[in-house]
């Protein structure tokens, strides 16, 4: 990296710096400011002036200070050593910074994103000199953690014939592991590569999204499923459980790798993840969850422009692992803070604002971000996906504000969090009235194959009941519950049961925190059996009081706690008991 002086500071206004005398600089170039070498990026060029957004606190920067260009765009380092690490918004490892500067983050610290000293055991693929090499091809692998086999890819842009591949052995990330003869001369390929964060990594083609991302959260998987490669927005006011929902998905979803971006949120929340994840065991692999997690932490008190960059950093890391053929889920908590960072920077540059002070390019940026998700055929011929799950924090919990509205245009799944549910401590507080998933039709075949052929009908029946219940509740609010006939009261009763026994899920209970596809399906069927057969009993003249008094009801409410995922026979037994109780009731009225 050749450093050169590209100009001098003219004006400092918070994280935005104007530079003068700039003749030789490129747009989005990574620059360093003053002798303390603060990291920044050129975001506007006009005549001999450049506007620079600085990723660190600018206290003490003076007009006349030098600006150093690096000759390359803001990039992330990709290679073995990423997993289990916690980075800040511009991929500086926070643990290394802690070792250098103690508990405060000092300015101008330069640490390498990936350790350049650590050796990894590289295993080459079966390639020989003379083989044709194309970009994205897998030339070897490193067992990075027990569960992630880190594939070494030819960087995009490199193609030719293989001149040499190095034998199995220990290599540092910058050591060459192959030499490729290209038309511009020989290129040494190392395990480490760089990629600019604002440019999506290339793929072969997009695939349709028809495999669900199983999160283990019943309200999500059964009612509003997300597909692998899909996009979701989770909007909700403060205290409605956005972060809790994101944490639950990060812990239990069936992605191979999680990139968790804490964008402008609380410091203690990241500490919580850091202390909790290593202790939690992934039910699918019996390994620590940290072995599949990368954290990006740019808390609310860290510089605002790095917050803007953090979500791009996160997505780029996700795309890199997707290119190896993994399914990656990205949690961005919260995209509103990112949008606010855009607004703050835009305000400092004195741009003309659109709605609520947000810049006019906000929708474009949101679209660009969410379009980086997808289920792809990668360059190496594998299938991989990036799913984006973005939390949105609407001011005052009002979903009509610009960030929520624009996000809704570009995501296909919407899990709206409801203040009333959260107040009643009904978690996850995902509203079944406001939420929707456009992936439903696409994932029905998968569900019917894996859970049961009646899945989509059962689900639809339950949704319809929930809709009916809303209307009935309105009547109850006006005239009281006694005015309804038993058959309608029964609908309210079934919905209450469904909410308590199925939709509510305790993230801290060892059994309830995660439900398999089979368990979800069986639980749904238990409740529907209660409804279908119960309605029959009522039609034959039975009373609601008797139905509600059945002793088996207590066990239905508690089935989520009492039936472990591995022992679903208990649910079959429960169904049998329910059927028997109903048989008895029915026999009275025949």
């Amino acid at each position: 990296m050749r450093e050169r002086i590209i100009g001098q500071v003219r004006r400092v206004n918070g994280p935005v710096i104007e530079a003068k005398g700039v003749t030789d600089a490129m747009m989005l170039e990574l620059v360093r400011v003053a002798e303390v070498r603060l990291i920044g990026e050129i975001i506007k060029l006009e005549g001999q002036t450049a506007v620079i957004q600085v990723y660190e606190d600018t206290t003490g920067i003076c007009p006349g200070d030098n600006i150093y260009g690096s000759g390359m765009p803001l990039s992330v380092e990709l290679g073995p050593g990423l997993i289990g690490t916690i980075y800040d918004g511009i991929q500086r490892p926070l643990e290394e910074i802690y070792k250098i500067s103690g508990h405060y983050i000092e300015k101008g610290i330069q640490v390498s994103s990936i350790s350049k000293e650590r050796k990894w055991s590289f295993v080459p693929e079966d390639l020989k000199p003379g083989d044709i090499i194309y970009p994205g091809e897998i030339i070897g692998s490193v067992q990075e953690t027990e569960r992630i086999n880190h594939k070494i890819l030819i960087p995009p842009g490199v193609s030719g014939t293989l001149k040499k591949i190095f034998p199995e052995g220990e290599y540092a990330v910058e050591d060459p592991v192959a030499v490729v003869e290209t038309k511009d001369g020989d290129v040494n390929v190392a395990m480490l590569q760089r990629w600019p964060i604002r440019v999506p990594r290339p793929v072969k083609e997009r695939q349709p999204l028809n495999i669900p991302l199983i999160t283990g959260q019943r309200v999500i998987d059964t009612l509003f499923p997300i597909a692998k490669g899909g996009t979701v927005a989770i909007p909700g006011g403060f205290g409605t459980g956005k972060t809790m929902t994101q944490h639950a998905i990060a812990k239990w979803c069936d992605a191979d790798l999680i990139v968790y971006i804490g964008c402008g949120e609380r410091g203690n929340e990241m500490t919580d993840v850091l202390t909790e994840f290593p202790k939690l065991i992934d039910p699918r692999t019996n390994r620590s969850l940290m072995e599949r997690t990368i954290l990006i932490a740019n808390t609310s008190n860290m510089p605002v422009s790095a917050r803007e960059a953090s979500i791009y950093t996160g997505v780029t890391l996700a795309e890199y692992f997707r290119d190896m053929g993994y399914h990656v889920a990205v949690m961005a908590d919260s995209t509103s803070r990112w949008a606010e960072a855009l607004r703050e920077l835009s305000g400092r540059m004195e741009e003309m604002p659109a709605e609520e002070g947000f810049p006019a390019y906000l929708p474009t940026r949101i679209a660009e971000f969410y379009e980086r998700a997808g289920y792809m055929n990668t360059l190496c011929g594998k299938e991989g996906s990036v799913s984006l799950i973005g939390a949105v924090s609407p001011p005052g919990g009002d979903f009509s504000e610009p960030v929520t509205q624009h996000t809704k245009r570009f995501v296909r799944c919407f899990w709206g969090l409801d203040r009333q549910l959260a107040n009643a401590r009904h978690y996850p507080a995902i509203s079944w009235l406001e939420s929707y998933s456009e992936y439903l039709l696409e994932v029905i075949p998968w569900w019917e194959q894996h859970a049961g052929p009646t899945w989509s009908d059962d689900r639809a029946e339950m949704m319809e009941l929930l809709q009916k219940e809303v209307r009935l509740q309105q009547v109850v609010k006006l005239v009281g519950p006694d005015a309804l006939p038993d058959s309608q009261k029964f609908i309210i009763d079934v919905c209450t049961l469904f909410k308590n026994a199925f939709l509510q899920q305790n993230a801290f209970d060892d059994i309830d925190r995660f439900s398999t596809v089979e368990k979800q399906m069986k639980m749904l069927q238990v409740i529907l059996t209660y409804y279908r057969r119960g309605s029959e009993v009522l039609k034959r003249g039975g009373t609601l009081v008797k139905l509600k008094k059945m002793s088996v009801n207590q066990d239905i409410v508690k089935m989520k706690f009492n039936v472990p995922n591995e022992d679903l026979k208990l649910l079959d037994k429960l169904t049998a008991r329910l059927e028997r109780s109903l048989d008895q009731l029915e026999s009275v009225y025949v």
């Binding site: 508990h103 203690n268 008190n301």
Partner: protein, 470 residues
């Protein structure tokens, strides 16, 4: 000598250079043209025509014009006779343990007629971001002796838990009661209170001083007062000075510090004032777009850090304008803090103290600080059950207001009774009543005793066996 060295040397040489006369004065802002290279956020001394020195800060710097914010206000400044000195470093506060028991203004100068304490060290008042990997996750339960807080919205050491109140509601009384009664179960530790008053009335400041005096803790309290008649601009610096001392006490002196900041609404209004004068593009209700980041800079200066036994617990108080919780100030605060204690006017008018609204109040750190070995094993489920039952009470009350109480089902009547007992016996208590956590939890079970057993879905059978109906 290279060009770079020249520039660095020039900067050092010209530090402290005094400029006579300014070019524009607008509200608390002073503009000076054609200075040497002045650093962003550099400290400024501003000598007014009478010879008194006021402090200021560089808000915007460029080669043509520098914008300075003067904390003590600009009244009395004249264009030709104002002297400006740029100090070449950010605003620092000399801090020391000796500051406990003393009273300061918002900038940290003593106003109790005593001498300036000898500083142990000087710290930049803007602080620095704590590295998330260096944080210790807070989980020590603080017993405040107030049932609705201990039982339902537990305060944890290192937490930031604001009180969302309204004008005329007893938030000061509650904050003072917490400061008096707060203790950690089974441990005696060094504690200190740092009190920052921003734009509050003299009476309020006096109330706190008296309350600390009466309990004999005044020697452990440092007060930073920027009262209602002080220049509004000073308020933007007051919480930063206070937190700088708090950080010194917590992380250099290993003390447990409780920081009370009142009233955050006044702080935000001062920010808005400066932002408007600077002609910045406003976001909601005229507040600057960076209000969230600015508040986060304050609130995130709390918590615990690995390797240090001290902690900072924050208890900011804010009055919601027009009791509106969706107003930008409480809204943004709620997004940063770890929960909130919300006051309800309706409860206050029914003579319930503390008038804490059951449902919107929340403590995010509660889950890891309660239960077996910390409070009592039944605490998590009990709290969850009380929330669920109380939320149903609210529904029943709404229904009753439409169809009349007589039309309610017998079960709903039982819920109404529970709601009444919960508010009158559990939530309500005296201003000097200090309940132990056991008393609080037993009271909770006493209230649940009014409900039939099969309504209790969120507690386990063993807990019902042990506590229900006793």
């Amino acid at each position: 000598m290279s060009k770079i060295d020249m520039h660095e040397k020039q900067k050092k040489l010209k530090t402290g250079l005094e400029y006579i006369g300014v070019d524009r004065i607008d509200g608390p802002l002073v503009f000076i043209k054609k200075t040497h290279a002045v650093g962003y956020r550099e400290l400024v001394e501003c000598v007014d025509p009478s010879g008194a020195t006021r402090l200021g800060l560089v808000l915007d710097t460029s080669s043509d014009i520098v914008c300075v914010q003067v904390f003590e206000g600009t009244s009395g400044l004249t264009m030709p006779d104002t002297h400006i000195r740029f100090m070449g470093e950010p605003l620092k506060l000399g801090v020391s343990e000796k500051m406990l028991g003393r009273v300061f203004n918002g900038l940290g100068h003593p106003i109790d007629n005593g001498p300036m304490p000898v500083a142990e060290t000087e710290l930049d008042i803007n602080g620095m971001a704590i590295n998330p990997t260096a944080r210790e996750y807070p989980k020590d339960f603080i017993q405040t002796g107030i049932s609705v807080i201990d039982g339902m919205n537990t305060l944890i050491r290192g937490q930031k838990l604001p009180i969302f109140s309204g004008n005329g509601l007893p938030h000061n009384e509650l904050a003072a009661q917490i400061a008096r009664q707060a203790k950690i179960k089974g441990s005696k530790t060094n504690f200190a209170v740092v009190f920052a008053a921003m734009g509050v009335k003299h009476d309020v400041a006096r109330y706190f001083v008296r309350s600390f005096e009466e309990t004999g803790v005044l020697d452990n309290v440092a007060l930073f007062l920027s009262l209602a008649d002080d220049p509004s601009i000073e308020r933007t610096i007051t919480p930063r000075t206070a937190l700088t001392l708090a950080e010194h006490l917590a992380f250099n002196k290993n003390m447990h510090v409780l920081v009370i900041m009142t009233d955050m609404a006044n702080y935000c209004e001062s920010l808005r004032e400066i932002s408007t004068i600077r002609g910045e593009i406003p976001s909601r209700k005229g507040y600057p777009g960076y209000l969230y980041s600015d508040l986060a800079e304050l609130y995130e200066r709390s918590g615990m850090v690995k390797g240090f036994s001290g902690s900072i617990t924050q208890l900011p108080i804010l009055t919601m304008p027009n009791d509106d919780i969706s107003h930008p100030i409480p809204d943004l605060t709620g997004y940063i803090t770890e929960g909130q204690i919300v006051f309800e006017r309706e409860m206050y008018s029914r003579n319930i103290y503390p008038p804490v609204a059951g449902l919107p109040s929340l403590s995010r750190l509660m889950k890891d600080g309660i239960g077996e070995g910390m409070t009592r094993e039944d605490h998590p489920h009990l709290a969850s059950q009380l929330f669920a039952a109380y939320s149903y009470v609210k529904d029943v009350r709404n229904l009753a207001s439409v169809i009349g109480e007589e039309e309610l089902t017998p079960l709903d009547h039982q819920y109404m009774e529970f709601g009444e007992a919960f508010e009158r016996r559990f939530v309500s208590q005296k201003m000097n009543e200090d309940r132990s956590i056991e008393e609080t939890l037993n009271l909770g079970w006493e209230c649940l005793g009014l409900l039939p057993q099969d309504e209790l879905h969120r507690v386990t059978e063993e807990e019902i066996e042990k506590y229900y109906g006793r």
